[in-house]
């Protein structure tokens, strides 16, 4: 359903065989296409498969509470990976996500504790996020270095600020609704689903629409696919980077706010695992680290897979180190099957 939009089906689909003209060797091409398309659909297949597997291995898995818990886990990862997907499609990468999560967690818990009004806190966080994202993008353009470097530097700066700010502070406060927004028994108004899941669902729809239906979205793909050609095609490279890195920082900040609700106390290191987790979700979904191919719907699948796999492994009794090992193997196994295109030579 997702890859069938009439125009923008550039969701990393490996090259189908040309149907006009005379294909070089028909049988070989047909098998290649089937194989390529199969691996291309793997993330969409893995989500239900893992779910069914978990049903067998974990008693009581098919309950509302356990499914909601799973979705909360996926939402935290999915939200923080939203902007990451875009920066990677644009040919960059955002390493400052964990730091921004941490800083935003500190800001909410500290300022709310000091009785600032919530709208002001959220506005301040949003402004800060846009500032961080803009600096990430603009410095990368001006200094002619990959955003890997600028966002890594930014990550150190932001972490430093967060640590300094929270220095010694162990007390903080968050509003009650924020706590229940990430609780499995939380409600969103009359809907018996915690807020974070609804936020994630809405953000996902917006992100997919943004990438497919807006000018900046299409320019993001073009920039990531070929930066030189993008410039010559008058793509607004700097603007695209500013937008996607700002979105990335905004998503990280939002994740940080939800984390604050989760624990209620200030913790500048709360985002730490998301250094690799966001990239894992993006890669498992099938968005190429080389840029220009993939999409957020794939990352949604990636986040669900990570959450399901983690839950499954915990349920079966494996420890945290084994979970990382399993995720690592999954990343390598899946990404090696993605993008099995015609060989480079065949494109000459």
């Amino acid at each position: 359903m997702t890859d069938s939009s009439p125009i923008s089906a550039t969701d990393g689909s490996p090259a189908p065989a040309p149907t006009t003209g005379q294909p070089a060797s028909t049988s070989k091409t047909v098998t290649a296409v089937i194989a390529a398309n199969f691996t291309n659909w793997l993330p969409y297949i893995l989500v239900p498969v893992l779910f069914i597997l978990s049903l067998f291995f974990i008693s009581g898995y098919f309950s509302k509470l356990s499914i909601i818990s799973l979705l909360i886990l996926a939402s935290l990862l999915g939200l923080s990976s939203l902007g990451q997907t875009m920066t990677i499609i644009a040919g960059g990468i955002d390493l400052s996500i964990p730091a921004v999560i941490g800083l935003s967690d500190i800001i909410v818990t500290q300022l709310y504790y000091k009785h600032w009004s919530l709208p002001v806190i959220f506005l301040a966080i949003a402004a800060l996020a846009i500032f961080v994202g803009t600096i990430n993008a603009v410095s990368s353009v001006l200094l002619h270095v990959h955003s890997l470097i600028t966002s890594f530097g930014m990550s150190l700066v932001v972490s430093g600020v967060a640590l300094e700010w929270s220095n010694g502070a162990t007390t903080g406060a968050v509003p009650g609704w924020l706590t229940s927004s990430v609780s499995a028994i939380g409600h969103t108004g009359p809907i018996p689903i915690p807020l974070i899941i609804i936020v994630w669902a809405v953000a996902s729809v917006l992100a997919v629409a943004f990438m497919r239906l807006t000018r900046v979205g299409r320019e993001t793909y073009a920039l990531g696919a070929n930066a030189v050609a993008a410039r010559l095609a008058t793509v607004r490279s700097t603007w695209v980077l500013v937008v996607v890195f700002s979105i990335s920082a905004l998503c990280a900040a939002m994740t940080g706010v939800f984390f604050a609700g989760y624990s209620g106390i200030p913790d500048p290191t709360v985002g730490q695992p998301y250094f690799f987790l966001t990239i894992t979700a993006v890669m498992i979904g099938g968005t190429s680290l080389l840029g220009g191919r993939g999409g957020y719907l794939r990352t949604v699948m990636g986040a669900l897979i990570v959450a399901e796999l983690t839950t499954l492994l915990v349920g079966v009794g494996f420890n945290a180190s084994f979970q990382e090992l399993a995720l690592g193997i999954l990343v390598i196994a899946l990404t090696s099957t993605y993008g099995r295109e015609l060989k480079v030579a065949a494109k000459i």
Binding site: T10, A24, A225, A233
Partner: protein, 551 residues
């Protein structure tokens, strides 16, 4: 007739290779004997490079046989080809710029550890190879990037010949060399021939082919169409086989083009849309002034690196000239200077780059996305795409340009080179350009698509678009353009009216021969305007056609 004549080093029969829809080689046949210099001739896109890549183990053929010194062989990879004694110098000068000359020469010969050889041996070997090629004084410890283009090219030849070889393949390996360097290289090749070695080379310079080759094999559209002895070959004969047109010599040298019939006689009435004022490309070159009119196709010619590329870059705002201006002229006489690439685009000057893959295509994206990327500038409502309109423009373009594409949703990489080029052109044509600046757009495009693209350019011009068309193929310029501006050493040396020019005129001007332009650039003020559309080209042309068979 197969291998009865025992004295063949390499026999190729019925070799074919396709890339997706493009059939680069359909049936190539070739025999190379020991002690022979063999030339492989063919137009761009005739399959020469593909054949050479197969011979050097870079590509595998789809079908056909390859017999090396009596044994049917498969060359699975480049090192197996090298192991058998086939050394190749590729068209692209493949170097590691940060490494030294010596390391570049020995690139790829290391085994597990680098220092399998003693340094002394390495130095002696490299010196020998370089001095064979006339580069005796070259410092082996210099980083590669400090070398001139010609020196780099010779170093890649040296890299090939330090390995034991019995067949040396040179793919356009002389393009950057001057006459003296070229002669040294040819001396070396002749010497090797006398030692019983074989050489297979391609060159765009007909005099090299005729002067050096013992035998010549001509490829056309992926198939071998003729093999002849060098002593019996003539320029006209080879060109005839290459293009497949009987008596092509007459067509090319005498009547340049099957021109647009009856369309606008080149009157001075064409409204100028682009004006170049005292443009200086390099500190040492002469200023250029000219105008390009709506509906005019101006060709740009020159040997590699003579300023024509800088010129198109100045026109499109990618490069600031050393001095002078490029002005876009509006309908009501106003003129606006081109200051930046974006600025040029706003003025309707659209640039189609030369390197399709690196500067034009978005490899992972679909055909439609590749086409529409520029359209979104206009076709959006508050940033949201107006896809129906874009789709309509795509369908219009695909129809009118006869784009061969299974589906606009398929990746652009599934298209043949020619169809990819159509999409890149379409990207700008759909933006309704006033001036289209194209940098060698028909490179690597197959014959039929080339004809279609000629048609496309002509229709555009008929619709009032001014086209500046840089090409490395003189035949293309003679076929398509109204005038040909020839560059030499950074200056415009001739402005030839195409109808009254032969390829000899163009070549002569490319080598800086002033006769061709009839003293054109010497005239102050306005070379390239109405004046020389008239009689100026005429006298020079007749004089040259007499001796035009090339020497």
């Amino acid at each position: 007739m197969s291998s009865a004549d025992g004295a063949t080093r390499l026999v190729i029969e019925g070799l074919s290779r396709s890339f997706g829809e493009t059939r680069a080689l359909t049936s190539a046949t070739l025999r190379v004997r020991p002690g022979e210099i063999h030339s492989l001739a063919g137009e761009n896109g005739s399959g020469k490079s593909t054949l050479i890549k197969i011979l050097s183990g870079v590509l595998q053929p789809d079908s056909g046989t390859l017999t090396w010194e009596g044994d049917v062989t498969r060359l699975g990879n480049p090192s197996s080809a090298q192991g058998m004694g086939i050394a190749t110098v590729f068209q692209e000068t493949l170097i590691a710029p940060e490494m030294t000359v010596r390391d570049n020469i020995y690139l790829g010969t290391d085994r597990l550890f680098r220092y399998g050889r003693r340094k002394g041996e390495e130095v002696a070997g490299a010196r020998q190879a370089l001095s064979d090629l006339g580069l005796d004084g070259l410092d082996l410890d210099r980083p590669m990037w400090t070398l001139s283009l010609a020196e780099r090219q010779l170093t890649t030849v040296a890299r090939a010949i330090i390995r034991p070889w019995r067949l040396l393949i040179l793919d356009e390996a002389t393009s950057a060399l001057d006459h003296h360097q070229r002669d040294r290289l040819f001396d070396y090749l002749r010497l090797s021939r006398s030692e019983g070695k074989s050489v297979l080379f391609t060159s765009h310079r007909m005099d090299e082919v005729l002067g050096l080759a013992d035998r010549i094999t001509v490829l056309r559209q992926g198939a071998t169409v003729a093999t002849m002895a060098g002593s019996e070959a003539s320029r006209i004969g080879i060109l005839g086989h290459m293009s497949g047109r009987a008596g092509v010599g007459d067509v090319v040298t005498a009547e340049p083009a099957p021109r647009r019939p009856g369309e606008r006689e080149q009157g001075p009435s064409q409204r100028p849309v682009l004006r170049v004022e005292e443009l200086t490309l390099r500190a040492t070159s002469k200023p250029i002034s000219m105008e390009v009119g709506a509906g005019q196709i101006l060709g740009l010619a020159g040997l590699e690196g003579q300023g024509q590329v800088e010129f198109v870059e100045c026109l499109s705002g990618l490069r600031r000239p050393a001095a002078g201006h490029v002005l876009a002229l509006g309908g009501n006489g106003e003129s606006r200077p081109v200051r930046s690439y974006r600025g040029a685009n706003r003025l309707g000057i659209r640039y189609v780059p030369r390197d399709r893959r690196h500067e034009g295509l978005f490899g992972p994206l679909s055909v439609f996305d590749n086409f529409a990327v520029t359209l979104w500038t206009d076709l959006n409502r508050l940033g949201w795409l107006r896809r129906q309109q874009a789709r309509k423009r795509f369908d219009d373009f695909a129809g009118s340009s006869r784009l061969v594409s299974a589906s606009p949703r398929h990746p652009i990489s599934t298209l043949s080179g020619g169809n990819q080029q159509k999409v890149l052109l379409g990207r700008w044509i759909a933006m309704r350009p006033r001036v289209l600046v194209v940098n060698d757009p028909l490179r690597g495009v197959d014959h039929n698509t080339k004809e279609e693209l000629y048609g496309l350019f002509r229709r555009l011009a008929a619709g009032g678009v001014a086209i500046v068309f840089l090409s490395t193929e003189i035949v293309e310029l003679l076929t398509l353009t109204d005038q040909i501006a020839v560059f030499h050493e950074g200056s415009l040396v001739a402005m030839l009216p195409t109808e009254m020019s032969s390829d000899t005129d163009v070549v002569a001007a490319m080598f800086g021969d002033q006769r061709a332009g009839d003293g054109e650039p010497g005239r102050d003020g306005e070379p390239g305007r109405d004046g020389q559309r008239g009689g100026d080209g005429e006298p020079g042309r007749d004089g040259q056609r007499g001796g035009g068979a090339d020497g």
